[in-house]
């Protein structure tokens, strides 16, 4: 249950909202404002994206369900944080604060194959 400490000098996920549009893979992270799990998930995703450049073209979308509850209804968000890698035909879902870097890496590698 050890959350990785956020690394310095990376592009925060929040800023990546309007990131480069590549092959249409979207990494959507649902968070609950600044609750501890959500904060950890954001920084863990940041770190992973910086360390493993496995997804050639992607964009990151951050949705705060506490700020946008309607979105939580329409997207049927159950737990936060939830990371959804959306490809053209299917999607991969991961829940939790993304503290398991091996699992996160696996998801990102799989996401690269979604296109």
């Amino acid at each position: 249950m050890s959350a990785k400490a956020p690394r310095k000098g990376h592009m925060p996920v929040a800023a990546a909202n309007s990131g480069a549009k590549g092959n249409g893979i979207c990494l959507r992270l649902y968070v609950a404002s600044t609750t501890p799990n959500s904060e950890r998930a954001k920084s863990n995703l940041d770190a992973a994206l910086r360390d493993f450049s496995v997804v050639p073209g992607y964009r990151v979308e951050l949705i705060d369900v506490l700020a946008d509850a309607k979105r939580a209804v329409t997207d049927n968000v159950i737990v936060t944080p939830t990371l959804v890698a959306i490809g053209p035909t299917r999607q991969l879902i991961m829940i939790g604060d993304l503290s398991d870097s091996h699992k996160l890496q696996g998801l990102l590698e799989a996401a690269a194959n979604l296109s």
Binding site: M1, Y30, N37, A69, V77, V79, L92, G96, D100
Partner: protein
Amino acid sequence: MRKFAKRVSELRSARDRGRVSKYQPIRKKPTGIAGFDQITDGGLPEGRLTVVIGGPGMGKSLFALQTLVNRLRTAGEPGLFVTFEEPVDRVRVNVAGLDWAFNSIPENRLAVIDARLPGDTVQAGAFDVSGLLAALTARKAAMGAKNVVFDGIDLLISSLNDEYLERRELARIDEWIRAEGMTAILTVKSYSMSERDQKRADLIQYLTDCVIRLEGRLFDANFSRTLRVVKYRGSNFAPDAVPMAIGHSGIEVVPNQISRDNYPVFSERISSGVPRLDAILDGGFTRGSSILLSGAPGTAKTSLASSLVAAGCARGRKAVFVSFDESDAQIVANMRSIGIDLGRHVASGRLAMMSLRSNGHSPEECFLNICDLVQRHKPDILVVDPLSAFMETAYPFAAVISESVVDLAKSKGITFLGTSLLGQADGEIEASAIHVSTIADTWIHVSYVIQNGERNRALTIVKSRGTGHSNQVRELALTDKGIDLVDVYVGDGKVLFGSARLEQQQLETRDERLEEVQHARRKFELGRGIAELQGRAQAIVQELASKRREAELEESAEKVRSVARRKAITQRGLIRRLADDSRVHPRHKKQRAGQ
């Protein structure tokens, strides 16, 4: 020091006063499941968490969903049903067979929300349910929901796999419902019961205000469901497990607290359909009373019950006849053979018959079927034949249910007759009679009496509350014209039934005839003797009279004679003196004249 202690006690009492005004007693929301609302004295705690724990198939989801539907229907409160285990479709299919018309309820009144994680979801670290609660907050605001169900919440939070985190999420839900003013039901499985599951169940029980446990057990081959309120903060409740059944209206709970008060009371008498029985009951059964009719197989219990029903229907009353393991048509045909026409009353709509199977149905389920029919038909008379059908099963609540049936009838002022099959009783009332006998107002026992190689039915009124009744044993006779009671032969230190009674009566009749003839002869002879004597007496009286007459005549003749003689003597004397005078001295003549 003393001053300080005084100050402390003042502060304490001030604080306690404050507490009294600050904390309101909990308010309750009826679930609409009548038996449950009764044992919890009003339903679920409003604005609190209630947890329903039970194994698979025990009806946890049903209980929760039924409460939501009832709250919507009775109080107009929209609800949210969050399913963590089953897809929405299956939730809907599960209740489609019930009489709720669930699928006609619009989504904005009762929303079924799929909160299952997609099957291929990978978990990487700790999560929370904030996302779900955010979505629920939005839905609640949109539809004004008052109640929420988290169905199978344990499936989600158990994947946190950490006691602390699980507790935190439960606390989050608890906090949310309190903040939003929602009343919530959590359902939690209890079947796996590993150490962790046990801990989780304990934790949930600790966190919540009201804990309900649904259980099911096999008794021989009979499955019995129970509901038990394990805990209810701030409220009294009946802590016993009570029988529960799942029928076409969903869950029904049969509370075993029988009020036994507020029963309507009648003084009116209703006929049993057997005039002689009415007579020995001092006018018939009391309306609204309960009658237990016990006896061995074939002792005409069904016939007596049918007789009561037929008599009631003939007076324009409505009746319900519940039988076990025998078809309605069979009963109608059997009764026709002894001159009781039930078919006519079925056709007129006054009589509703229902045949239940005692096998494979719990007494609770049978009871609910009876309740349902009673609600619909609103009878004046209810017959359950035999009521003891419940007792022949291994179900644990059979006795309670038997009482509940009687209570149902009494509470509605329905005259109730239940038959009870007792083992072969040799003219004596068995001590092991079913429990109902204690609450029955009238208990009639029919037994077989075996005499001279013949069985006959003997009817006794064991008890009859509030009415005078005969303590005599009667013989019950079945004829093609119906039922009749016959006085048994009592005499010579013997009690005789059937043909023995007839024989004895014939014997007596013959003896009596003989006596009569002899009497007549003796009487005739005596009469003749008397007549003869009277004749003789009369002759003597006549003779006496004639003798008296003779004597009188004799007397009077004698008088006449003596007078005549004296006259004759005088004349003779005169004549003789005249002759003497002619010859005596004149001096003598003078002397005689002076005399």
